[in-house]
């Protein structure tokens, strides 16, 4: 909150008085109860399961409630190779999640196709169809890496604003929460990428 001086706030906290704002309270609740969608695609899912189990224990961050329904989930962890057969289902599941929703692309495959990039059946990154919030490199990433991504996502949620012109995207009425589901074409998915979402940086050779 910008209205209160940080030093005054610390001083008040020292006296046992906690000053907060609606936005902070809301984001604090949201970031500590991120419910992921319970689905895994490939070997990264094993690491995701390990993250949820007792040794790494994602419950420490409030993310242990893996939901089997997209209606109840806040976070989609795309854990593994996305085949072209599976991509429409993933986009459809993402569309069915309630706002606000977030996506973590876990591992090299979910980011770019990874070691299977040359495969005719592999989607070269899920960010071609849905917006990704956090990317985790690795093949597969260790559970600590997933926890790190989770913390990064929490940081992002914490910084989202509820009001003003720079408020969070999901609060803007004009921002759509559904993305077109690709269809199976003759050789590839149609369209091969959603240009509204997928804007890779252009390489310029000098």
């Amino acid at each position: 909150m910008s209205e209160i001086d940080e030093k005054l706030r610390t001083e008040l906290q020292r006296q046992g008085i906690w000053v907060t704002s609606m936005q902070e309270l809301y984001n604090w609740g949201r970031k500590n109860s991120i419910w992921p969608l319970q689905f895994g695609l490939a070997c990264c899912a094993i690491e995701m399961i390990a993250t949820a189990a007792s040794r790494y224990d994602i419950a420490r961050f409030g993310g242990e409630v893996f939901r089997p329904s997209p209606r109840q989930a806040d976070l989609m962890i795309v854990a593994g190779t996305v085949t072209k057969k599976m991509a429409p289902q993933i986009v459809r599941l993402y569309n069915q999640m309630a706002d606000p929703k977030y996506v973590i692309a876990m591992g090299a495959c979910a980011i770019s196709g990874g070691p299977f990039k040359q495969g005719y059946n592999v989607l070269k990154g899920i960010d071609r169809y849905i917006p990704v919030d956090v990317y985790i490199p690795g093949c597969p990433p260790r559970p600590e890496a997933l926890l790190h991504a989770f913390m990064e996502l929490q940081r992002k949620i914490d910084g989202q604003k509820l009001t003003g012109t720079d408020k969070a995207e999901f609060l803007k009425p004009e921002q759509l929460s559904e993305f077109p589901v690709p269809k199976f074409g003759e050789h590839d998915l149609e369209p091969p990428a959603n240009r509204d979402v997928f804007q890779p940086p252009k390489l310029e050779r000098v």
Binding site: R71, L93, N95
Partner: protein, 127 residues
Amino acid sequence: MTEMHPHPYLFIVIFIGVALAFPLVPLALAWAWRRFFQPPKPGAEKNATYECGVESIGEAHIQFQSQYYLYAIIFLIFDVEAVFLVPFAVAFTGLPVGAFVAILIFLLLLIEGLAWAWGKGCLQWAR
């Protein structure tokens, strides 16, 4: 004296109040949140009935063929037979004659069912 002690059933009224407020207050908060902050974003996919990611195709009102009762009967014959034969085999040496005859009659009933099903041609693979 009556003023010092409240009505003995007052606590039930308080309980009802708390029980109503406990679910209603969060629901009201959620409603107010949706009303003032979160713009609704319905869509064809979001409002779809099924949520497994795969589009539903065809009719939901399909019928199973009534001939499945034959499979059920045959399953019953072999399943019940196995359930009773195992304890029968375990207790075989210590059984009196009466029990032995009883289990043989029981087996005969099941074998009769099997013979009936066999004669009816149920053991042939699906036509």
